[in-house]
Structure formats: structure tokens, C-alpha cells
Symmetry: C2
Subunit: 387 residues, 2 copies
């Protein structure tokens, strides 16, 4: 199973509800790799590499703080796995530009970022880089939201194209593990996003949590406590649904809110309590872990090393399909050539090579191919044996 995050900022409650909980729950069930996708983050943050770098640690701290266990889950850093870059370049040959541009996920992200025609070329290539990630770990299960299903489809297209080129399966196809959790909205009801500043970070302080809950969008028509209010689209209820384990009480509150008689202040007080209880231990653990960043980086490093050796084996298989063998010498299997042989041949070739075709270039005295009369000896002869 492969999951991952772009280190563009600390993770927030949306990540927790949507994927972190699942990863913690599944880490003892599936062999799990979590990839901190710093190279992918650079595709649209190339001007802010320092931020990306800082956030690698932040994201790793978030993982460890919520209960990702590095002894069972591999936490790897994309830029520490050069094999993935090579895979990406090879896969770029197996997909057309038009197909990449049609990818609906890329489409909507291009819109979200307001790139218009200024799409960094790397950004358009990032779905292929994801294919390299997924196949590089031979992942068969990829937890995604419904909006990312086209990515899985595109991955399998490339996997099948590779298999058809090779005449046999090279890397496994993958399937999506669809999250059943509805996407958690931001405080303002829009899509929760670090850049919009409408998300509650896992590392949020008690005050930040309280302020965010206070600012939450409820129902603008719900002016007085006695007014009937809307539950659908109400951010506070979305968060209660996600994080309040007393589901029956939440259902009763919804009924009461719909009928009128439940005020936003009381409702938000309940959510504040729920979130404070949820985030307090995460924040504390995070702070403990943050005291030793070197050790956290050590965890990333050893995870990346483990990931590298897996990816190297995949890369070797994929290079084989393109007739590029491990040492990059595509015909090495023909005839192994020791360094000695090469040296001998180079010596032997020396006079041949120096016997230029063009008189003015000839650096060897008296090559009989050269017309200048002052040349003396040249070992070049069409009938000379090569030994």
C-alpha cells in the first residue's frame, strides 16, 4: 500500500479524517509505504524550495504524532530515491501529452492554482511521477479520494503499456482503496487547504483551535437560537460527524438544530471540546518528537534506504523492457569486456584512430592513407590482423 503527502505545509484535520486515521489503522494489516513527495511539491513550489524542505520534517512529525509506527510503516522521501526519477522519465515515453492534459485531476488542480498557460512542465508530468512512485514500490493498493480515481486509471494504462511492450507483466496493476469518509470542508465551507488558511493543523494550539471553531461557517439564515437551522453544508456538523464518537448524541443535536432551539454557540462549544481532546495528545507527542529532529530525519533516511532497494529492483526490470541493462551498457550481455581488454584495444586502436581521414587532421607520421609525403609509419592497413 502506498500513500503520501506533498510537504507544502503541516498536515491538518482534513488529512487526519481522510487518510491518516486509515493509515494508522491499516499499518499492521498491509505493508505500507508513506512517501513524502518533496519532488512533487517542487513542481508547483519551485520558487520556495526552503519551505518544502522545512515541511518535510513537519509532515514526518505529523505522521509520528498521530501514530504512524516507523517499525512497521516505511516513511520515505521522494528526492532520496533517484530510481523514481529514472522511472518517471521512462514512463513519460509511454503516455501522450494529450492524455496527460485530459487528466481531470490535473485539470482541476491547474484551475485551483490559477496556472492558466503558465503550467510548469514538471506539474503536468507529476501524474507520471506518481506512477513511478506507485510502481516503484510495487504498490497494489492506493488509498485515494474519488477525485483521484483518474490517477489510478492512468497508472494502470502505463502499467499495461509497459506489459505490452515487454510481452509480460512487469509491475502489478493497482487498485484504489476508496475512502468512505466524506471530504472535510475548511472552516469557511470551501475545500480545506493550507494555502487558503481555512484548515485546522494537527499542531494547532488550543487558542488556534478555539478561534477556528468560532469562525466556522454554520447557516447564515440561523440568526436566533429558536430559528430552524440547516445541517447540510454546516461546517460544525461536518466536523462533529468526523470527530465526535458519540454518534447518537450528534444525530439528536442535528434534529434539534433543524427544529430550532439549538444555538451555534452551544454547538461550537461541543465541537471545541471534541477537537481539543483529539488534538491535545497529538500536539504533545509532536512537541516531544520535535525536540530531536535528527532522530526523525534518521527515521526518514532509513525508510528511504529501504524504499531505494525496492525501487532499484523495479527500475532494473523496467530498464530491461527498454533494453537498458543495469550498467547502462545495452549490449553488455553480448560479450563482457574487462577493463584489461579495453585498455589493450585502446592501445591497438590508437594508431587507427589517429590515422585521420583528412590529411590536415592526421597526427600520425606517415599514414599511407594520408597524402602528405613526410609521414613515416602507420600501423593502419586494411589487411592487418586486429590481434
Amino acid at each position: 500500500m502506498l500513500t503520501g503527502d506533498r510537504p507544502t505545509g503541516p498536515l491538518h484535520l482534513g488529512h487526519y479524517a481522510g487518510s491518516l486515521q486509515t493509515r494508522v489503522a491499516l499499518q499492521n494489516v498491509h505493508q505500507q509505504t508513506i512517501l513524502i513527495a518533496d519532488l512533487q511539491a517542487l513542481t508547483d513550489h519551485s520558487g520556495r524550495p526552503r519551505d518544502v524542505r522545512r515541511n518535510v520534517l513537519e509532515v514526518a512529525l505529523d505522521y509520528l504524532a498521530v501514530g504512524i509506527d516507523p517499525s512497521v510503516t516505511t516513511i520515505a522521501l521522494q528526492s532520496a530515491i533517484p530510481e523514481v526519477a529514472e522511472l518517471t522519465l521512462l514512463y513519460l515515453n509511454l503516455i501522450t501529452l494529450a492524455r496527460l492534459e485530459r487528466n481531470p485531476t490535473v485539470h482541476s488542480e491547474i484551475e485551483l492554482r490559477g496556472f492558466a498557460r503558465d503550467i510548469p512542465a514538471g506539474f503536468l508530468a507529476y501524474p507520471v511521477s506518481q506512477v513511478a512512485d506507485i510502481t516503484g514500490f510495487r504498490a497494489t493498493l492506493v488509498p485515494v479520494g474519488e477525485d483521484r480515481l483518474p490517477m489510478i486509471e492512468q497508472t494502470n494504462e502505463i502499467v499495461r503499456r509497459l506489459a505490452s511492450l515487454a510481452g509480460h507483466a512487469v509491475v502489478p496493476e493497482c487498485r484504489a482503496l476508496l475512502s468512505t469518509t466524506p471530504r472535510l470542508p475548511g472552516v469557511d465551507g470551501r475545500k480545506a487547504s493550507k494555502s487558503l488558511g481555512n484548515a485546522i493543523a494537527l499542531s494547532a494550539s488550543p487558542d488556534e483551535i478555539r478561534d477556528s471553531v468560532r469562525a466556522m461557517f454554520t447557516d447564515s439564515a440561523h440568526m436566533r437560537v429558536s430559528d430552524p437551522g440547516r445541517v447540510e453544508g454546516n461546517v460544525v456538523f461536518a466536523y462533529l460527524d468526523a470527530f465526535d464518537s458519540r454518534h447518537e448524541e450528534v444525530e439528536n443535536l442535528k434534529q434539534q438544530y433543524r427544529n430550532g432551539g439549538l444555538g451555534d454557540v452551544a454547538l461550537k462549544r461541543r465541537l471545541d471540546e471534541v477537537l481539543q481532546t483529539l488534538l491535545e495528545p497529538i500536539r504533545t507527542r509532536r512537541a516531544l518528537l520535535a525536540r530531536d529532529p535528527g532522530a526523525v530525519l534518521g527515521i526518514i533516511r532509513s525508510g528511504s534506504e529501504r524504499a531505494c532497494s525496492g525501487a532499484a529492483s523495479v527500475l532494473s526490470d523496467v530498464r530491461e523492457v527498454f533494453f537498458l541493462n543495469d550498467h547502462g551498457c545495452p549490449m553488455l550481455e553480448h560479450q563482457a569486456s574487462s577493463a584489461e581488454t579495453t585498455a589493450v584495444l585502446c592501445q591497438r586502436l590508437g594508431p587507427l584512430l589517429r590515422c585521420r581521414l583528412n590529411d590536415t587532421l592526421c597526427t600520425i607520421p606517415s599514414c599511407h592513407r594520408c597524402t602528405a609525403p613526410s609521414r613515416e609509419t602507420c600501423s593502419f592497413s586494411t589487411s592487418a590482423p586486429t590481434q
Copy 2:
């Protein structure tokens, strides 16, 4: 100085006139790397990797046969230099898709190949891969034809973008070494190309040379020997200009041809002699070298190894700009963490990490953060020292 060829077929007289001669002449003047661009060849030959592979050897044989000296020129294979793949991916972030699509060289090659909308994504990225090649060898001089000047321009754009990101120069800008030789046409007067089958290979047999010369396009209005003929656009004269060293005689022949009285047969006989004389020693050397492909591959391999170590130093500098250090652990310089420290921290973290936030996930007996009463001990405590 960096030059290179895509191994999509054996090299031909167009390569010889346009670039191979220059490389041979300059190899003792400039530090020269010749890159066999197999990865680039795969961008539009992904369905025929076996051909690309075979042609790596063919192209290397051509180099050695014309007088490229591996003791002064580095012959390297692109796919054997993984650093170039990483550089390519990083550079893709420094250029927009629109800019790539505007590249006139790419434009005309897309047309030549009849890709329309089915451009492989890798093909559009290949100018960036060339930037990686050029900068990967810190090349400052790139011999090109006029049609490839936009490539040089694009390279320097990326080099400057990188410098502006870093706040200092990272890799040198390069300049084009414009070839003064006009482009040699194909036998049929169109652009000489392996795929059009209108080029004379350096390895052509005497019969193949003769047949090609006979098939050469001259002047369709020149029916009888006595007719005045056109020299401009006459393929035979283009080849005589390129390969007949008796320039004065060639000029006289041109005059005679223009006036009428010089037949195509006589003209072609002269060219045939010139080309036979030129290609005979090349063909012979090529045949000698081809007897020991392992040794030729050894030359490629040792060249690639030399190229790798140079490219690794460039990659390290470029990664630095993106705050990705050598080991891929972007904050390693903060605080080095030995494997021991990590192990200790993992142990220390163990109970913390296993103390799940959610009761149902808790695998540690009696965590006081968990509500289940049956748990016994948990080392987790917000006030516990981390040592």
C-alpha cells in the same frame, strides 16, 4: 564541448559533413564529451527499444571509425548516467509547458514526425533533457546547426532561472558553435534522414554508394548533356562542395554545368570516386572495430563512468539549490543522526507511537489516553522526560 547523437540508426554523410569532422578536428582543442542519447531516442522510439539498443553500438563504431579518439574524447551513454534523469526532472520545474510548446525546433520535429496530438510526453520534455545533458557536463560550447539555436536559448533560460533561484551561478551558460557547413541534403533533395532512407551511411558498401549517387537528384530540366543545368539545389554539387577537396575544379565544373556541355553521368562518376575514396578507409576501420563489440562497449562504459562522476557533482550543486542534499535528507546538516541514535529513539518512541489516539486502535495495555478500562501501563505522559 558537448555533442551527441540519437542512436536511431547508423550515422551518414550528413553527420560527417555537419558535425563528425568538426568533432575530430576539435577533440585535441576542447575537452569534448559525445553523448549517445539513447534515452532521447526512446522518446519517439519507445516501441522499438531493441533497435535503439543495437544502434548504440553502430553509432559508437561510426565515431571510432571516423577518428574520434576515446583517449581524448569521452564517449558516454545517456542511460548510463542516472544523474541526468534527476537533473531533467528538477529542470522541468523551471520552465512552463507553453514555453516548451513554443520551441520552434520541437515544433518542426513534431511536424516532421506527424505526431499531431499524439506527442509522447517524453518527446516534449526532451529539450529539457538536453539542458540536463549540457549542464550535466558543464559544457560551455555546443556545436549546432542554425535550426537548433532555440535549444541553446532555452538552455540558458533554465540556467539563468536556476542562478536566480540560487542567488549565484550554479552551472555555466553555454554558447552555440555554429556550423559553417550548409546542411547536406538527402539523395532525393529532401532533408537527409535515416527514416526517409535518403542518406548515405558511413558504413555503406561500394555498391550502395554507387547506387545512391546514381539516384541523386540533379536538375529535371537538364535532359541532354548540352542543356544548361542548375547548380543550386543540385544534390550532386552539394556533395561535391562538401567532400571534393579540389575546390577550384568543382567551381569550373559548376560553370561548365551552368553553360551546358557537362552531363550528369560524368558528374556523378566524379562524385562516386570522391565518396568511395572517402568512405573506404572508414568502412574498413569500422569492420575491424566491429569484430570486438565488447571492447567498443568497454570504451562506452568507461566514458560513461567518467561522465557520471562529473554529472554527480553538478547534480549535487543543483539539488543544493532546491534544498535537497546529497543523501536526500534535506535537513541532515541540522543535526547528524547516527543509526544508533535512531534505534534508541525508535525504542523510546515505541510506546508513544503505539499509544493510539483512538481507543479501538490502541495496542498498548492501559494507556491513560485511552478510555478502555482494561489497559494497564503506558509510558505516555505529557510530563514524562523524553530521555
